[in-house]
């Protein structure tokens, strides 16, 4: 008997079929991996399976019982449990409150808090997951929150556990731990579906691997009958040679890429060893919660160099980006081209030639209700060609918008389209166009998670734009949680741990070395 069986699922959004006739099954005690690019339909498929979305056609069966579509309660009752990529946890509530929400144990009409606490602690212990049941979620780190999500499903008796891109935000060691937990769950008789785009991990943990591409199921193979390279080709639908970045992005190991004759970085002898453009010394600042965000961080970036910043989420990355772009006050010294004080306000940073591709583009980079043309003028609304004196230069603005939209392949190529209507990838291309090509060439580019959630084409365009900026002599700082992205684009990688520099590594450093730096358990001999 299959634990979960999806038959001919079709789900459309607008005119687009996100999932197009996919049939998939998983048995109890089996680990099935679901891989594919961003936008291939993995999350949509899962949302349909667990009742969050209602499929347009097809059926979902759990343990041979057909589930009503679009009913999360029924899916939960049937034993399905999903751990989402963006955690579904209520910040101000405690761990136990989050775990029992929706199925609260009661006594005389009120919450039986004692029983809830006890049961949650027991469930966690059974699988070796360490948890503090009375802690408020908002005080926990990402790894702990993920454990809460897993316990949440297990406490409800989930017999099919679905993990959506669980290792995206974990350090290599935490990812390892999770892999062990997954195998333990399978050994306990539960079925596990594991979504990822990291082929190496998937090959280490899964029994079978299913590949989705553009909403369709391309292949399902047992682990022993495939390899990272073969999977990568199935995911992309093209031979690897054409897509070196993608291969890196999918986690095809560097050694494999080299054997295939791929070089993912072009020549960048531009980096002039003597010319440090950005100098940071002893940067320190607080984070939003009042705790230290940066503690004495020092580093340099040279002209025409890309410095990647790696680290487990929450070790100072956001604070660093904000300090460089004038959004956060930091003590210590920051010099761009020898001049300090450039990062006092966003306006002064911009004037000094700093541009910012922020992590949260919806909130920080775009005014969604405004048009494409207006968003392209944002930050330069008083400069030519967007304005003439105090008045808007409508023709100049329109012409510039056409130019940028064309160069960066923003779709639809309509300056009057509403920015909020564009897809994520096009929005990011819009931001990149504005920041990198909207005015004078930048001197410092601060890019945070620039390709998160983007499909292959958009990612490539953004990376190309960053490389162009580097060619023009800018210093580029790229902060990312995706080690493979950093490896593909950076000249050097700085690892952040606890708000300061844990070390500098070369892009071909191993996962183990980077992992040790990210967890602060090693010191690198290289220095800034």
């Amino acid at each position: 008997m299959k634990a979960l069986e999806l038959s001919a699922i079709v789900k459309r959004f607008g005119g687009l079929a996100a999932v197009d006739g996919v049939s998939l099954a998983v048995a109890p005690g089996e680990v099935l991996a679901l891989v594919g690019e961003n936008g291939a339909g993995k999350s949509t498929l899962i949302s349909v399976a667990c009742g969050l979305y209602q499929a347009d056609s097809g059926s979902v069966r759990a343990f041979d019982r057909e589930l009503p579509l679009g009913d999360p309660r029924a899916a939960i009752d049937a034993g399905l449990g999903v751990v989402y990529q963006h955690f579904m946890l209520v910040g101000p509530l405690t761990v136990w409150e989050n775990v029992v929400l929706g199925r609260e144990p009661r006594r005389f009409g009120a919450l039986d808090a004692a029983r809830a606490r006890r049961e949650v602690a027991e469930a966690a212990q059974r699988f070796g997951l360490s948890l503090e049941v009375d802690a408020r979620i908002e005080t926990l780190g990402v790894g702990a929150q993920q454990r809460v999500e897993i316990v949440k499903q297990l406490w409800r008796g989930a017999r099919v556990l679905i993990l959506a891109d669980p290792t995206a935000v974990l350090s290599p060691r935490e990812a390892n731990e999770l892999g062990k937990t997954v195998r333990a769950l399978a050994a306990d008789g539960r079925a596990v579906i594991f979504i990822s785009h990291k082929l190496r991990e998937v090959l280490a943990v899964a029994d079978r691997i299913a590949v989705l591409r553009r909403g369709k199921l391309v292949q399902v193979t047992p682990r022993t009958e495939t390899s990272a390279a073969q999977l990568a080709e199935a995911v992309m639908g093209r031979p690897l040679g054409a897509e070196p970045d993608a291969a890196a992005g999918l986690g095809v190991p560097a050694t494999e890429r080299l054997t295939l004759g791929l070089s993912s970085r072009d020549d960048h002898g531009n980096a002039n060893a003597n010319l440090s453009l950005l100098e940071a010394r002893d940067l320190a600042c607080l984070s939003d919660r009042g705790r230290p965000g940066l503690r004495g961080l020092s580093f340099d970036i040279r002209r025409g160099e890309v410095l990647g910043v790696a680290g487990v989420d929450g070790n100072g990355q956001s604070e660093l980006a904000e300090a460089l772009t004038g959004l956060r006050r930091a003590t210590g010294s920051l010099r761009l081209g020898g001049a300090d004080g450039f990062a006092r306000t966003p306006a002064s940073a911009r004037k000094a030639g700093v541009v910012h591709l922020p992590e949260d583009r919806h909130r920080r980079a775009l005014c969604l209700p405004l048009s494409v043309e207006e968003n392209l003028a944002l930050g330069r609304q008083r400069d030519a060609p967007y304005a003439r004196g105090a008045l808007i230069d409508r023709d100049g603005r329109r012409a510039k918008a056409h130019e940028l939209v064309r160069d960066y392949d923003v779709r639809p190529p309509d300056p009057l389209a509403r920015a909020g209507d564009l897809s994520g990838g096009n929005q990011q291309k819009l931001v990149a166009a504005r920041e990198l090509a909207g005015g004078a060439p930048p001197r410092l580019v601060v890019a945070v998670q620039p390709t998160r959630g983007l499909d292959l084409g958009a990612s490539r365009r953004v990376h190309d734009a960053l490389r162009d900026a580097r060619k023009q002599g800018a210093a580029v700082l790229i902060i990312s949680l995706d080690l493979d992205e950093l490896r593909a684009v950076s000249d050097r990688i700085l690892v952040l741990f606890d708000g300061s520099q844990a070390g500098i590594a070369a892009p071909d450093a191993s996962d183990e070395e980077l992992g040790r730096l990210m967890l602060g358990t090693a010191t690198s001999t290289a220095h800034a």
């Binding site: 772009t325 959004l327 306000t345 966003p346 306006a347 940073a349 911009r350 004037k351 910012h356 922020p358 909130r363 920080r364 980079a365 775009l366 005014c367 969604l368 209700p369 405004l370 207006e374 003028a377 944002l378 930050g379 609304q381 008083r382 304005a387 105090a390 008045l391 808007i392 509403r418």
Partner: protein, 347 residues
């Protein structure tokens, strides 16, 4: 925020039109339900608003005030704030005009207008700075400030220190001293109270349109309202822009008060319940937050107000007009109500 507010109605114009028609329809039915004659009622409304220079003049002077308070609210919307305080700003503006208007000099009129704008602007600036510096929600602060204005001006200043001499009675019905003739808003049509206020209001509406759509600063205001964090990250000093906009918003409401004093009342009366400030909210919402829309909506509501007094001839209390406005606003608030209708019309 203005764009976010009105975005669900892809076409705010049709949405507003639909809201108006439906509210008129509902009122029609409501009147019939209470046993009165709806046709006669609406007929009287139209006569009171449009029949002849007298009624047209009434419509014009009321529209002028509503256009200004509507613009006041619309400008606040532009930077993402709800200015519910137009009433209080109008009151201070009117009082300033009444006081400065006592000057017997050729510059009395422009000076009075300037004083009104300043007074209203100051009262509008307060909630702006409270929001920017202390995060006080402007809906609450502007409403509280309304009550402060009402009590201080009506309950103290006009009743006490600024009361006209020779009052004597415990409640001064007379109000303040009358303004000098030099400060009167000139009228230019016999048989009508139409004054300079209406053309002035239209001119100001045009200026506001230009400011918001053609200047860099207007663009910055719109950016702050559409995406405050993005605007801030792009270098726009959003706090300063918000305070500027709120000050202008208050100034426009203050001018509205000046129009009432300098054009119609010619002093600050002892009993002065206007409600023009609150109606400004309705005007701005119906007008879709744009200058042109506000002007049109202002004329619409002005006409209703002018004709409302005649409703009594058919046994309907004039407050019914407020009801029509309220329903129209309710419908405009939820344009998606009309979504199924659109789909069927387009299909």
């Amino acid at each position: 925020m203005r764009e976010k507010l009105f975005a669900p109605a892809r076409d705010p114009l049709w949405s507003a039109l639909a809201a108006v028609l439906v509210s008129l329809l509902v009122s029609f039915l409501a009147i019939a339900a209470t046993g009165r004659d709806p046709l006669a009622g609406f007929g009287n409304l139209a006569v009171g608003a449009l029949a002849g220079p007298g009624p047209l003049g009434e419509t014009a002077i009321k529209s002028a005030v509503l256009i200004l308070t509507g613009l006041s609210v619309a400008i606040a919307f532009t930077v993402g704030l709800f200015n519910i305080g137009a009433e209080g700003q109008l009151i201070w503006g009117g009082l300033a005009a009444a006081v400065v208007g006592r000057l017997d000099s050729p510059v009395a009129l422009p000076l009075a207008l300037a004083a009104a704008a300043l007074a209203g602007g100051g009262w509008g600036f307060i909630p702006g700075i409270l929001k920017v510096r202390r995060g006080v929600h402007e809906v609450i602060s502007t409403i509280l400030l309304n009550w402060v204005a009402i009590h201080l001006v009506h309950g103290w200043l006009v009743a006490g220190p600024l009361a006209a001499a020779g009052g004597g009675a415990s409640i001064s019905v007379a109000g303040t001293e009358p303004i000098s003739h030099a400060a009167w808003l000139p009228r230019f049509v016999t048989g009508s109270r139409l004054d300079l206020g209406f053309p002035l209001a239209l001119l100001i509406a045009a200026a506001v349109w230009f400011l918001l759509t053609r200047t860099a600063r207007g663009f910055e205001w719109r950016a702050v309202g559409a995406g405050a964090e993005a605007a801030h990250a792009s270098g726009i000093p959003s706090g300063r822009r918000v305070c500027e906009a709120m000050a202008l918003s208050g100034a426009l409401a203050g001018l509205a008060g000046a129009l009432l004093i300098l054009g119609t009342e010619h002093k600050y009366p002892g009993v002065f319940r206007t409600g023009y400030g609150f109606d400004g909210i309705a005007v701005a919402l119906l007008g879709g937050g744009t200058a042109a829309g506000t002007a049109v909506a202002g004329v619409f509501f002005g006409a209703i107000r002018a004709g409302a007094t005649r409703l009594q001839l058919v046994g309907i209390h004039p407050s019914f007009a407020e009801l029509i406005q309220g329903i129209a606003v309710l419908l405009v608030a939820a344009p998606r109500i009309f979504l199924p209708l659109w789909k069927r019309l387009r299909a």
